[in-house]
């Protein structure tokens, strides 16, 4: 049996040691995050001031040219082209994902169907599949020579009637970015559906019941109860999806690689291709920085909207 005094002493020592424990516990995470995120970003900033190719990297050469890479980006038609593609891709994807997500979530929440859980699980499958598997699956559908859709169109006059009898889904520069946007809607809608479901669950059922007593129609209930109460969730969903979609390029990389002739090259893919296909690491680092600034601006808007959402719900 230890004496009272020694227990008190041990306790005191323990308390002293405990002061450092919280810092010790977060230290590994902070160290990893800093060394694998902040450090590379600082590194990228210095690289972005250099004229540097893949070859230079191997030889350890490359010279400082100041902000020349940044100026070059603003004069580069391919940069503006990728920005335009990003706006189309993000605009259609986000609109489609949030819209369809709202539609599906509303129906699943409405008690009109049996076993909504099974439908919900099925809808999540495109979202959890890897981008490469997804990419190939769509190549198998749209490819000019082996695609399922072109093959179907030769057999079915109905598809021809709908105008779906083309073979250039992935090779026509005028439509390829829209095709990829549809694929992205297909893949990402599940996330929006889940977010909106959470929003719908936060609305008390009693509101609908009292509206029903007053004789409200389904549409009236949706417009006057669901939409206003769901607005904060929709806003957050819109911004989050925008942030995510802006950085989606793995599926595009698999399906078209940005082609034909840069027609489907979004900004993040342009950065990647500049670095690894062209080997222009200095220029690509500058583009990475621009991409980061674009992303941080969206983040700031996100936080402002979050504030707005809190004010509305408060």
């Amino acid at each position: 049996m230890p004496s009272r005094a020694s227990v008190a002493f041990r306790k005191e020592r323990k308390m002293k040691r405990r002061k450092y424990i919280p810092i010790l516990l977060i230290l590994p995470a902070i160290l990893m995050l800093v060394s694998l995120t902040i450090f590379p970003l600082v590194w990228a900033f210095f690289t972005s001031l250099k004229k540097m190719t893949l070859l230079d990297l191997m030889l350890g050469s490359g010279r400082y040219t100041g902000f020349k890479n940044y100026l070059e980006a603003f004069k580069d038609p391919l940069f503006w082209n990728s920005l335009k593609n990003s706006l189309i891709f993000v605009g259609i994807s986000v609109g489609g994902q949030v819209g369809f997500g709202l539609l599906l979530a509303t129906i699943l929440h409405s008690r009109l169907v049996k076993a909504p859980g099974i439908f919900r699980a099925l809808f999540l499958v495109p979202w959890i599949a890897s981008s490469v598997v997804v990419g190939y699956s769509w190549i198998y559908i749209l490819d000019a020579n082996l695609g399922f859709l072109p093959a179907m169109a030769t057999q079915s006059p109905f598809l021809s009637f709908l105008g779906l009898n083309r073979r250039d889904w992935l090779t026509n520069p005028n439509i390829v970015i829209y095709v990829l946007s549809v694929i992205n809607i297909w893949k990402g809608t599940a996330f929006s559906m889940l977010m909106q479901s959470a929003g719908l669950q936060s609305i008390p059922r009693s509101l609908y019941e009292s509206a029903e007593v007053d004789g409200a129609t389904t549409l009236q209930k949706f417009v006057f109860i669901t939409l206003p109460l769901l607005t904060p969730f929709i806003l957050i969903n819109l911004i989050m999806t925008t942030m995510i979609t802006f950085n989606v390029y793995d599926v595009i990389l698999v399906i078209t690689g940005g082609g034909p002739a840069h027609a489907s090259e979004v900004l993040s893919l342009f950065v990647y291709n500049t670095g690894f296909s062209q080997g222009e690491l200095g220029y690509a680092a500058a583009l990475s920085m621009i991409l980061l600034i674009v992303n941080l601006s969206i983040t700031i808007i996100y936080f402002m909207m979050l504030r707005y959402g809190e004010m509305r719900t408060a």
């Binding site: 516990l25 590994p28 995050l33 970003l41």
Partner: protein
Amino acid sequence: MRKRWSKVFLAYLVLISWAIFCLFPFSSTLLIALKPKDAFMSFPPDYFSLRLTLENFATVLKDPNWLKYYGDTIIVASFASLIAVIIGSLAAYSFARYNFKFKNFFMIFILTFQMIPGSSIIIPLYNMFANFNLLDTYIVLILVDSVGTMPLIIWLMRGYFSTIPKELEEAAFMDGCTSLKAFWKVTFPLAAPGIAASAIYAFVRAFNDYIIARTLAGSRIVTYTVGLTMFTNQYEGIDMTLVAAASFTALLPIIVMFTFFHKYFVIGMTGGALKG
């Protein structure tokens, strides 16, 4: 409550159409995987006859390269998940339990990492690891993958730890446990659902990753996503049936995991915003 049949019909119509849309690409992949090679030699390819074979699956599952890719993927994803969950939980525990200087600063600091997209650091990471001669190693893929999921896991786990009453730990403390032991014996088991969700989230992210594996590795260490693209280069598109079979074998484990851990999946992938 009255349900008019037209409304019910419309609801089912939308849901069933979307379900078909969701599954259509996967079912056509399966169909191609079940076709003999010569079905795709000419246009239009032969989709509609009933000539089916399991040969492609047999070839893929016996292919030592493909099995190696698969093994690499599982090694990377398992360790990345383990590291992200352990280190993430330790930090989350600290945020949930202790008050210390600059705590809020550190929490916001970690949240900002969530906002830094992979696409803007992949080139710097490549430069950095090329400089240190660390490209194409397990350790690089494991570290980069685990860092990608860590901020979200910290926030998710912090939520879980805050719901566990402090008194339970204090009781263990009184019985002479060290705080680390109290954490392992009392808190960790109680936070099991959160840990499961975090582990699945980290595993799936690393398992499905393509960009990191392609950029920072790809010749000695090959994950299955990169391996799939190598099939095509190897056979120049003629053996698309093989790629389809391989894709399908790669999709299956995720679907199986998803079926069993559906709830944890949703919690993890949405960062705990939704509880399944």
